[in-house]
Symmetry: C2
Subunit: 323 residues, 2 copies
């Protein structure tokens, strides 16, 4: 929350723009906050190594660390601002009800936000503002993790790609940049596609197309490769099997499906981050994080073969199955 | 929240009582939770090293680590269960409004719980249940930190001791146990004293007495030593000066005051835990954590001398001033 709050209040942006170290009084004045709160926030950021402090005769002066400049400022191309705002405002409150989530085995939108939890995306997209926050947040993630998962396998043989649940399109953008001969169609709910077109995907990018629909209830067009990036982890095994069976049916012979997920170790020991994501899926979705063997089983049940798993060593891994 | 939730659901208690490793299904069944939530919670506890897991042919079996047995079970004499429930349910929600707290420079009871934030203890003690949670939580802390701060100085010359804001009395109990010739009077709000008598302090402990009152508005009786343990950090400098002036006036010549607080480094660099506590004081009280120099200044302003500071190397430190 310290990091989220410093982001939300614009501390890192101000320190980047000002180009010099500033006192806590100056920062509080420029950002319109209390001095007593700001001073403590800055010191806690120093403790977390998000800021550096220098004690001068005039008092303490604060400046960004390199990490803050790259990831915590809004203007940085690798900015994680939006995903942090999503975590700070939405996810944090769902986690307040973690004990209830474990008791009931279901997400906590009802308690946290008073909206029905039967349809997790209906709940997540309960307002255009929430949907925008989520889409921008996911885009933040792909701006740093996208290239790793797309480069895990050579995807150049696949020209005609559908990104199912592609949201704001940052992964699609990375894909056409890494594989310039490919065309990526973002398949997502109509309201998501509208916002992606208007706000996120540059209109001059002709290699990115859009398809409005619900991939559980509407048809999925034929393609050479389907990307399911952080999709299966939102759903239980039954729904995953349904979706993969539909994808298999539409997939061209010789085509494939790329799963992008954070993989749990087979021995249940970790990684801790993925275990925490899995708890997060509990409070927010109908899904969970899975091991590579579990994804392999789901893919095989749908008919996919030649399954390859690539751990990237970073947050998200890649699994490729072929038809 | 993972640790808090496992505590709240009784995972560590069950594993201690059962005396053997249990499967996630068995734990979920015995505790009446979902299996899908419990399995993930247990695995996340393994990632956090709060549980150990063994993979057998019948599946994964979980058991407590030593740390969990000592600190996370309800029955342990060093149990931190109550402070964790307080953090999980009350503090966590106040931190959801951290950005507002920094903006406004004040606590967030109004947003978090809909109660007025003008009187922080009125807000904290908004129900008997909340007051009990807080008192039991503070007692958890003193059960492991109390002895260190009381042994930081030789307090045996002081026989007649007042513990101002002594709450549930765990620190008073540690004090009469460490200094058997002392008598400790717990001075706290009437409703706190009632609960301390009924629930927390053993009636056969004749070295502990009680005094009902509000130390800002009522008189403070004469004594040889006053303990102010985690009191000054709840208040701003003005209130601290008022309180210390009253204490000085009542203090017997040759007597003293013992401050128990978590001290910030003079160079603002840390410790991180104390910086986080100071943020917590922002969202919950009218106070903040301070450096040793700041406490020295407050003590000197009230008239105290021969000020000694002892860092314990643990969470709470001790400052002694003499009259």
């Amino acid at each position: 929350q310290i990091m989220f709050t410093a982001c939300e209040l614009g501390v890192f942006d101000l320190l980047l723009e000002s180009g010099e170290s500033l006192s806590s009084d100056a920062i509080a004045a420029r950002l319109g906050t209390s001095t007593t709160g700001m001073e403590r926030l800055l010191d806690a950021c120093v403790g977390l190594k998000l800021l550096a402090v220098e004690l001068t005769q005039g008092g303490a002066l604060y400046r960004n660390t390199e990490i803050s400049n790259v990831y915590l400022t809004k203007s940085s191309p690798k900015s994680q601002y939006h995903i942090m705002m999503y975590y700070s405002n939405t996810v944090y409150l769902c986690w307040h009800y973690l004990a209830d989530a474990v008791r009931e085995g279901r997400n906590q939108y009802e308690r946290a936000f008073g909206v029905s939890s039967d349809d997790p995306f209906g709940a997540m997209y309960r307002s255009e503002e929430e949907m925008l926050k989520f889409m921008a947040g996911q885009n933040s993630v792909w701006s740093i993790c996208g290239r790793d998962v797309l480069a895990a396998f050579d995807l150049s043989p696949f020209r005609q790609i559908y990104d199912l649940g592609g949201g704001g399109g940052a992964l699609a953008c990375e894909c056409v940049s890494l594989y310039p001969d490919s065309t990526v169609t973002i398949y997502d709910l109509p309201k998501v596609v509208q916002v992606a077109k208007e706000r996120f995907v540059p209109p001059e990018e002709h290699r990115i197309a859009f398809h409005e629909g619900d991939f559980f209830n509407n048809s999925i067009p034929e393609a050479e490769l389907y990307i399911l990036s952080k999709i299966l982890h939102d759903w239980d095994d039954d729904k995953c099997r349904q979706l993969l069976a539909k994808v298999y049916k539409s997939c061209k012979p010789g085509g494939g499906v790329l799963l992008v997920e954070s993989l749990l170790n087979e021995d249940r020991s970790g990684p801790l981050e993925t275990q925490l994501y899995s708890m997060n899926m509990l409070v927010q979705t109908e899904g969970k994080e899975r091991t590579a063997a579990e994804y392999r089983k789901l893919l095989e049940a749908a008919g996919f073969g030649e399954i390859q798993v690539k751990r990237t060593g970073k947050l998200y891994d890649a699994v490729l199955g072929r038809k």
